[in-house]
């Protein structure tokens, strides 16, 4: 009996599965325009629900991503692309929103003493500004990385 049960235990299957695929990744590239905001929101919500984050964390992450993308789109020019990379592990969801600015002559910047930044800091566990906008060359970019860790709901 015990033997059979151990073999049928779905937890065991899941552990193996996790070890093979510790990280689910998805990248979404859109024109840096407000038009795409609702799509980005919907994707964020869906990913966080499927990752089984509690509903407060789901809503917080969605709002934070919304804020980050809005901030980048706000300094974007026509023709710019916004890349959102989602990385989901058992413990956390990391979202990196990147606006490449290498093709631009006047490089935009982001302030972190704004209400919007405070919003993100409240909503996410970690918020990082990755600013290489002054770099020479085409890789220069402005990026915001948000990390939301799984709450007390557990894995």
């Amino acid at each position: 009996m015990d033997h059979t049960r151990r073999h049928a235990n779905p937890e065991g299957v899941q552990t193996v599965h996790r070890r093979q695929q510790p990280r689910h990744q998805l990248e979404l590239r859109v024109d840096a325009e407000p038009f795409w905001m609702s799509g980005i929101r919907a994707l964020t919500t869906d990913l966080a629900i499927r990752a089984d984050f509690d509903l407060d964390s789901v809503a917080d992450l969605t709002l934070a991503v919304d804020e980050a993308c809005a901030m980048l789109i706000d300094v974007a020019e026509a023709g710019d692309t916004l890349a959102c990379r989602f990385s989901v592990t058992v413990d956390e969801i990391m979202v990196t929103a990147t606006l490449p600015v290498g093709r631009r002559v006047d490089r935009p910047s982001l302030a972190t003493n704004t209400f919007g930044w405070r919003v993100m800091v409240t909503l996410a566990d970690d918020v990082d500004l990755i600013d290489s906008s002054e770099d020479v060359g085409r890789d220069a970019a402005l990026a915001i990385r948000l990390t939301k860790r799984r709450g007390p709901a557990g894995g």
Partner: protein, 273 residues
Amino acid sequence: MAATGPIVVPEDDAACEELPQGQHGYERFAPLFIELAGCDADEPRWQHLRNLIVEAHLPIAHHIARRFVRRGEPLADLEQVATVGLINAVDRYEPDRGVDFLSFAVPTITGEVRRYFRDHGWAMRVPRRLKELHVALGGAVSELSQRLGRAPTARELAAHLDIPFEDVVEGLAASNAYRSRSLDSMMDDGTGSQQAAGVLGQLDAELEQTEHREALAPLLAELRERERAIIILRFFGNLTQTQIAERIGISQMHVSRLLSHTLGVLRAKLSAG
């Protein structure tokens, strides 16, 4: 009118701006209203005048319809509903009451469009199964939140309701959609604002200490009481959405939608200023 895609209009759909009076040339129809009021409905002149007046005021109906376009109904449908509202307004307007037609028509038309959302928006477009799921999820979320002391996850909801995980995902997506947001905000506007007022007093001091006070305070003051309370509780009081929901007396999903909407409004105003 052309077909409408998902249009993103950065305007506050809660604001019903007044049409500036005396600048639209609509006053010139005042004599026609008096003439119309003097006609019998079976006279050809009545029909003629009524058509003339309705057609002339169509831009106002369309203007009002466009203000609701972000809520996800096709513009053509909204314009049709607003036009019905306009015709009602023309038929019910009594020029001898001393109120000009626009002051009477704008709320009448707006009311018609709101009624349309209430009666049809959510009810007609969402399958019965999803509506039932929405209700079941709402109950389960608040029950589990109380029991767990935090918001539940989708798996916990599925286990609690004994339904498949995918159904929960689908139901939550539907509940998060704008349609229920517009429904919620129309159905229970004003709920909880008393509780919100109490909360505000306590947190005014907290707001005083933030560096954003200068830019933010006037914008917060413009918000409706409940929206303001939610922003303050979340970002200055550091309560979770579930805790706010409990305190204000609305659902967590509704708090989430209100926060999302209000942040968008604040963002637009902060970047404009």
